[in-house]
Amino acid sequence: MILDVLTGLLLVAGCAFFAVGTLGLLRFPDLRTRLHALTKADNLGLGLVVLALVPQAGSVAEAAKLLLIWALALVAAATSSHLLGRDAPEEQT
């Protein structure tokens, strides 16, 4: 029972971070600040969602796969934001 409550809470927190990240994307003026908002908020949001699903996972293997998804998403997000930030010094119209 506690696990379900925990899952619910973590899910809500995760979605909140996603919302904040999207808000940042819409509000911030230039590329780099948007990148900042997206990579930080969304990855944390994804982490929380994954943590929320871990207790619901049927077996340890499934939980490990969920965490692997998060790790890969982190690496991919870091690389793409680095490339975007580095290659576009002036404002991207």
């Binding site: 692997l68 690496v75 680095h82």
Partner: protein
Amino acid sequence: MTVGLVLDLVLVTAVLVSAGLALFVPGRVASVMMFLVFGLVLAVVWARLGAPDVALAEAAIAAGVTGALLLDAVTERPRRGPDRRVGPRWLMPLLGAVAGAGLVVLLGAAALQAGPVEPGTGLGPTVLDRTDDSGVSHPVTAVLLAFRAYDTLLEVAVLTLAVVVVLSLHRDGRLETVPAPGAASPVPDALVRLAVPVIVLGAGWLLVAGSSRPGGAFQAGALLAGALILLRLGGIRLAVPTGRWLRPAVLVGLAAFLTLGYVTVALGQGWLVLAEPWQGTVILLLEAVLTVSIGACLAVLFVAGRRPAAGTGRGEEP
């Protein structure tokens, strides 16, 4: 059921919005970006409709490799040449909208009415109870590689043919002249070194899982192609076989499938008839070769689209 309904509505609107934007948004780059989103949302739709294999394939092939192909094409030419459209700008879209709406109503009505003579008599049930004597335990793989193996053979021929035709567009057909610039930055190299082993491991797992769970040669092959493309973008030239080894790598899948056919007919049982004892192993072996070949084919499709080095690859035909 209302929660399910809400989920469906969210999904349907997401698909419609992303597809609409992918088709009608002004810029080319924006259109490709929205297409990637569309591909991922589609993978969720397949999962919702109870088709895990198709969801895996959609995420790996359609959103993955197709996305890479489109992105690479659009980065070469982000802006399009002058539009040669003639006639008033509003006429054609209006006609298109009216015709489209009529078609949707007509086809939708017909599709909704289409129901089997008596429900539940589909081919699915017959497949389910015949799966165990096909050598694999997962019904979709059984259909793909045992019951309808001829379909899959022709499909591998389609993929191989597409690659051969793309090679015929290149002057030397060996893709040696296509440069492989490194990303000249430590971060992508770190990603390559970290992600590629995991992806290859994932491809291997998908291949083996195919006989008992959703997975199989096509999803594994697409994952492998993703790894090869990542290596190529990381500046490692020989990741995608070019030069002498290009054509054997591309053709090995189709060649293996055909040899299986020739061997079975030579043994006198008839085309593609797999005898009882070693059915499962033969299918797994075939899937392994198919994975490598599909990975090579999709990676070559990515490399062959790129602009060859100046002065060698353009214009005149061999």
